[in-house]
Amino acid sequence: MAEPVAAAGHPGPGPDLPDQGTVSALARRPAALGIFARVFPRLAARLAGAVFVLWMVATITFFAVRLIPGDPAQAVLGGPGSQASPEALAAVSAQYGFDQPVIVQYFAQLGRLATGDLGRSYALNMDVGPLVLSQLGGTLLLAVLALALAWLLALALATWSTRGGKVAARVGSSLEIVAAALPHFWLATSLIVVFSIGLGVLPPISTGDVAGLVLPVLTLAVPLAGFLGQIMRESLLVALESPFVLSARARGESERGVRWVHALRHASLPAISLSGWAFGSLISGAVVVETIFARPGLGRTLLNAVTLRDVPVVIGVVMIVAVAYISMTLLTDAASRLVDPRLRLT
């Protein structure tokens, strides 16, 4: 994910890139052990990098929340407005370790995080770990469905607008730019106005059944499809003019085969490498969407915790999101290698 999209968007077949011949040579390479020896150091480095990033995320959040003015024991006992006695404050300080030196607290926190203990919520009187885990499923479902729908929409738009001449290309790209600019909160409100209040076909509140998922997923998917579609269309155009498409055509492959097998595989690469970013933006969108559709999930939990200054819950959600985001980045990296054999040569 390090390279900018411009570079990822145009792995345009220059003269120095390996052609089909090298790729099939790669496929013929026999030794499974060789592949392991090649993959393992890379995987180890990646995992070490991921652990480092997580450690830093934990460190930054730990020291950042120490900037919050006021006694944290006061926050545990109901915020600045509460009339907590000095004895109660002292008891809470001792219980949470607020009276320890910062560095001791820091390592205690790291130790707890390493064992998966995310501490206890100030406001909800329950452990953060189970709370966050119970909310994770709903948000992941939302994000995965939205990502899948966004891919479908983007693919459909990209293939349609590259086939239909200039007008289709114009319409396609305008639609994508507008879709990409739609803020989640406005799109959600508009969808509710049209489909729940106007037509009365879909519930405005996402209670857990399938019908309730439609509007939240649409809200998250449409703007994302705008971004993915622009990227896919452009790289599809580049791919369709590439030598490998020409040679596929020369071998007598049907137009459909050329488009769907060769060109799309090429065109999906930049969109795959964007999926890590997409996932992050979906999580951030989930804060809005879950709030509007009153859907339980990580985003809504986070917003509530931010409003109540429930620090352990905020840290818990941030850590979970960071883990999910980093895993997603690793996954997209692996997926790119799977789809693009050229990357495996490096």
């Binding site: 999209v5 997580l54 452009e234 809005v288």
Partner: protein, 286 residues
């Protein structure tokens, strides 16, 4: 990867496909809209002579009609006046947030791009860590610490866009640094500072203009999102996100209270995108 990098990448790719120098329909429309938004921000009275805060309970909840083009809200305030007068909030918040993000981005990016490998490596790892707070997460963390409000929300948006700017600027600097004219200046014995100020920075500034245009649109959307969530500007301020937030209560009966402020956010964001790409294309082909 940040939203901004995606935006910038898209601008770069549209640059390659569009060689035309003529002003297209989209660019003209975006230009007109930008002018409209600027006038609304600077002299809102010119476009909406009414008072955006004037209460008129007798004409509350009017749907769009001849007297009130965008309808009225729960206190009978004219939505059109409020939207036009709200432009200045959104544009100023967007501009300040972009300035903060860009400023920090320039600082970090220049450090990474100019001060050698160790600094570059450190800054890059730092940015990688910040990217693990995707989207609005960094902004939300900032708001937990410093409390909600317009000022913190603006700074929060600025901070959360900074890593994106930093990485693009670093890449830009490294590209420029390896060009022949920089090498020539080095051979001529210029100091590092002279080279940075005289040769490298001027050549990275033009792309920054594009970035800032694209970034303002995004910053406005994010700031409006925070206001909508009740963490930024508060009603009855006519900031667009806050207006949407107020309209949420009456969504079943008064759709226009939410629709029009949101429409302006979308128009502003689209305008920023189209203008940013257009400027980018023109600069490359100039």
């Amino acid at each position: 990867m940040s939203d901004l990098e995606v935006q910038a990448g898209l601008a770069a790719q549209s640059r390659q496909s569009g060689p035309s120098r003529r002003l297209g329909v989209a660019e003209t429309a975006a230009g007109v809209l930008a002018l409209f938004l600027l006038v609304s921000a600077v002299v809102p009275q010119l476009l909406a002579p009414g008072d955006p805060l004037a209460i008129d309970p007798l004409s509350a909840f009017q749907p769009p009609n001849l007297a009130h083009g965008f309808g009225t809200d729960e206190s009978g305030r004219d939505i059109y006046s409020r939207v036009v007068h709200g432009t200045q909030y959104s544009l100023v918040i967007g501009a300040v947030a972009t300035a903060i993000g860009l400023g920090l981005g320039i600082l970090l990016g220049t450090l990474a791009g100019m001060l050698g490998r160790v600094v570059d490596f450190t800054v890059n790892r730092f940015l990688e860590v910040l990217f693990a707070f995707p989207g609005l997460l960094l902004a939300l963390l900032f708001i937990v610490i410093f409390g909600p409000g317009v000022v913190t929300a603006t700074i929060a948006v600025g901070l959360s866009t900074a890593p994106g700017y930093a990485r693009i600027i670093r890449a830009q600097l490294i590209t420029v640094r390896s060009q022949a004219f920089v090498e020539a200046a080095t051979v001529l014995g210029r100091t590092r500072w002279q080279i940075l100020l005289r040769h490298i920075l001027p050549n990275t500034l033009a792309p920054l203009f594009v970035l800032a245009t694209l970034g303002v649109g995004q910053a406005i959307v994010w700031a409006a999102t925070l206001s909508y969530l009740g963490l930024g500007a508060e009603p009855p301020t006519s900031e667009w996100g806050a207006m949407l937030s107020a309209g949420r209560t009456y969504i079943t009966s008064a759709w226009w209270m939410s629709f029009f402020p949101g429409l302006f956010i979308v128009l502003t964001a689209v305008t920023a995108t189209v203008l940013g790409r257009s400027i980018d294309r023109r600069m490359r082909h100039a």
